[in-house]
Amino acid sequence: MQNESRPTVELKGFRDGMRLIIDPEASMQQIEQAIVDRMANLGDSLSGLTMNMDLGSRSLNDEELVHLKKLLNDDYGLEVKQIIGDSQDEPKRTEEPKIAGVPALHSEERVYDQLSQLNEETRFIRQTLRSGQIERALEGNMVILGDVNPGAEVVAAGDIIVLGALRGVAHAGALGNIASIIFALNLVPTQLRIGRFITRAPADQQQHQRAEVARVLEDAIVVEEYD
């Protein structure tokens, strides 16, 4: 019933990190295609991160698991840390740690509640991010008390608030939430990304005296004065 509205694969942020939630009813082929579709717009923004794979009630054999992990790792640079599921009927469970040292979680640890989505965590950073630094908040929002310099990058699953100058790259709604916003007291970014949308600064960018906010409106990122 609820499954009808649920996509084949879903990326969500949780307290223990990012999860790829896979529809238990889908075939391997559907899963693969859905992963390719889901990742298509994210570029390499998730590269180098670890995630957990939530299989729900389904069971996958070793070969299938290895195949999916390889796909995620080779094409998107994502490392699967843990397999989460509740398939009690599955004899594989006991053998699972054998697969590339992946420990299995118990079914009680599954967190499917929508609450964790509404009650997102916010990460505070009280320093200026300098060139080469990248900070992520894939469990929620990010607030920076300082500047984000050119060459620095901030990525958040939710909103990004910069109480300073945003001169580098910011990616809000990095897991796909295009309702996310980017706010800065001085918004002069190299590039802005919200969900799958990307925009770069105009060539004749001038300093603004007022705070500005970027959001997605009709399939494009627009920047408005904040008031």
Partner: protein
Amino acid sequence: MGKVIVVTSGKGGVGKSTSTANLGTALAVLGKKVAVVDADVGLRNLDVIMGLESRVVYTSMDVLEGVCELEQALVKDRRTKDLYLLAASQKNNKSDIQPEQMKKLCLELNETHDYVLVDSPAGIEQGFQNAAAGAHEALIVTTPEVAAVRDADRIIGLLQNMTINNLHLIINRLSPEMVKTGDMMEPTDIIDILSINLIGVIPEDKEIVVSTNRGMPTTYNHKSDAGQAYKRIAQRLEGEDVPIPEFKAGGLFGNWFGKLFNS
């Protein structure tokens, strides 16, 4: 006991070695006992810039390998009282020295000198890590170019990670004419991004090329704007309140930067 100061920039060619040579000389002229250390193993040139190349016998590598004593490896600059150079080995690689060894050398020099200036190689790899290992403070050299400022920003982040928090900025090769026409970054723009203390601005000066080729630091040249600017930085390092003059097309006027320096 003095201070160990690493002179670094990230980007190459912005004037680290020139700044090290000139500040070392200027501090020695002020009566301080100074050791300048070339940390650019394999691509040494501080000895050339200071005109001491022909007198280098031992290098820091020889000290570390026990070939000679630290004292023996120090080349005395005869033009000034109490200025010494510890040269880098030309035949080794940067990976032949470990940060711990470099730190030990710097701290040993620190026992007997007022200032130990370490000339860092470009980059953020081991050469830089070695140069910064024993430093209490850092002088960040940048030119008014976007790429140089970007690299300086990266270096500042790395230094802060190494808990070197006493950082001073030198803006080198500022061309007043180009700032006036809007073709060059202004010092205020640079400070806005890097947000560290500005300790001096060195104007573009053709004398620098002549002096580095001859191995005679511009600090000795009373007519050189750059040489005089280095002298003022040395005074500021010594805690003197010397305002930073504003460099305008055609000469020196005012001291608008004084307020930046004090802030």
